[in-house]
Symmetry: C2
Subunit: 336 residues, 2 copies
DNA sequence: ATTTTTTACCAAAACCTTTTTAAAAACGAA
DNA sequence: TTCGTTTTTAAAAAGGTTTTGGTAAAAAAT
């Protein structure tokens, strides 16, 4: 229990026989300093193992080197894939990550973001949910850079990497139609996550285009684990009528799939099934899940680049539109 | 661009016509204050939407309300499940989470933990990897509470929730033996994650106990995506001799499984396969993966409770030993 | 040689809180 | 009135940085 006192800039200054200000300037390159003094300071830093106190730095300066990440559910492979990539990139930029899991709950989002602001975060990366608007407003009020991934509400001014969810829903449904399905149902988590609503729009559009009038939309009432939702709703899909199912996320689709397999439903002969996201396990599961692939890598990279540009004060593109892609695997028939 | 100035304690004090000290006492319950004044202060806080500046608080006080989470890989469902549970619990305690993904790289761990310390974190939760010892030492030097999940090196004094990895490896191997396998190989990521080494000890022990001399241990040379490792090493397992495979993680097992299926290997008839972790997808894949289940919930809950106790200065149990469980599914034959 | 500019450095203020100190005010009780 | 107790206050220090304004010396210009 020796409880080391942290060595301060003052200690470094004393050892190097310079003023605190000079130490600060050496560290931050914020003023010219002679080679001789600089190396004396650097030596002292090394000798003492000095690490700047970020709290003090953040208190005095305008921000810390922290970035807030808001996701609904870290356990969902789609989001954990995003977080993984973001961490890789931001680590190289020497940023530290605050992680918040919100379940898409607006109260929780707001609470989290307020606390983050009080920590003087440098920026925020947010995956969209309906409640964002307050959060975005708050961030804007404080002038904190921010990027929204995956989608965006209405006419906001916030930079966004949008993935066309409507097109994705359209793609999925059209594929089911082309593979012979005529009674296609959609099953989804609650629409608090707006992208889901857009996916369902795409679904409707594809049906309309094909002149199909049958439509069945199953929504979970309360937010809960997506896998659970799929598993529970599946029974309502085995009604002898439905011959195609569009699940608005892979994780949910797997719940449906599991129940289907338990009930002896033949996939894709009896019912075709397509998911959304293309999470890693779609590659390994049998039957492999047909799905709509989100450009996670690209989105993460563009997103961080946009955020970093904002932080550095550079002007940059405010809006990117990325397209999802159809991945046909084993849970739907090949297009005929 | 209206760049709101953050409202300070001083503003609150002015509005409530009291001193700053009183505001502080109201907020922290650090001194008695009359009902009348208290409510005046609370009103002012609400009116101004005041949020304490955690940086200043952390700088002055001994710590912030942040907890650092160190995991090797957030994308691995095992770790994301842990993080999910930890977040749920710690949110209720009003803690904020720093997330660090380390890939088990000791340099990176050390770098991260130094920065976290400079942020005056209140505690840390760490999933074990070989390099921890420096990290643990550092935390101890600064008197920062800490809990290690899953395992622990040597004779450390740090509180730990240990899951008997040796027993898990033993269980897995014994099950393979009982289901008829005689040439059992083990395939694993590099042993920088020590628990893996222990699992392999268990494997050897089970072989010895059954009097089996055949043994084949395949280790990845470099750390990389576990799925990849499994996929690549699989070919070395299809040698006409091996009839059982113990993969030291599910994610890796899935890589093996995928390659096996591609090559037309019959599971479990030709080769039995068992994984480790019991991540969510084991339930949905076909064939469903036999595996060793980690008590993730229990571990997370015990772990946070231990950490919180330390933070509050309470004495508490320093060591728990949890047992993994065998889950027999479709990639191994039922015990005969 | 004198003035101006530049360079290299320093001392002190500021950031926002908590905590401490000394003192003032309010109040009931003796 | 006087004493003791409780509540509140003002003021200041501490925590470790960044930043501002300034000074002294060196270099350049006159």
């Amino acid at each position: 229990m020796n409880m080391k006192r942290t060595t301060t800039m003052h200690d470094v200054a004393k050892l190097a026989c310079v003023s605190q200000a000079t130490v600060s300037h050496v560290i931050n390159n914020s003023a010219p300093v002679s080679e001789e003094v600089r190396s004396r300071v650097l030596d002292a830093i090394k000798t003492l193992g000095y690490v700047p106190n970020f709290l003090a730095k953040g208190l005095k300066g305008s921000s810390t080197n922290t970035i807030a990440l808001l996701v609904p559910e870290i356990n969902n492979p789609y989001y954990s894939a995003i977080v993984k990539r973001l961490e890789e990139i931001l680590r190289k930029e020497n940023k530290l990550l605050f992680l918040a899991c919100t379940s898409g709950d607006s109260q929780r989002e707001l609470q989290y973001i307020k606390e983050f602001i009080s920590y003087n975060i440098q920026g925020a990366i947010i995956t969209y949910s309906l409640s964002n608007s307050h959060v975005l407003q708050l961030l804007q009020d404080y002038g904190i850079p921010c990027v929204v991934l995956d989608d965006i509400p209405g006419k906001s001014e916030v930079p966004v990497i949008e993935i066309s969810n409507e097109y994705g829903g359209y793609l999925a449904t059209k594929h089911l139609i082309q593979s012979g399905c005529r009674h296609i149902a959609v099953v989804s988590e609650p629409l608090v996550k707006l992208p889901l609503a857009k996916r369902i729009c795409g679904y409707s559009k594809a049906l309309a285009e094909a002149g199909i009038t049958y439509s069945k939309i199953l929504l979970a009432d309360a937010p809960q684990d997506a896998f659970e939702i799929g598993y529970r709703k599946a029974d309502q899909l085995i009604d002898g009528e439905v011959d195609g199912v569009f699940a608005t996320s892979d994780y949910l689709a797997y719940g449906v799939l599991r129940r289907f397999l338990e009930c002896g439903v033949k996939i894709p002969e009896d019912i075709g099934l397509i998911g959304y996201d293309d999470v890693a396990m779609t590659q390994v599961s049998r039957p492999a899940l047909s799905t709509i692939a989100q450009p996670i890598q690209e989105m993460s990279e563009l997103g961080t680049r946009m955020l970093l540009n904002q932080i550095k004060g550079k002007e940059a593109e405010k809006h990117y539109l990325l397209q999802p892609e159809l991945r046909i695997r084993d849970t739907t028939a090949q297009d005929t």
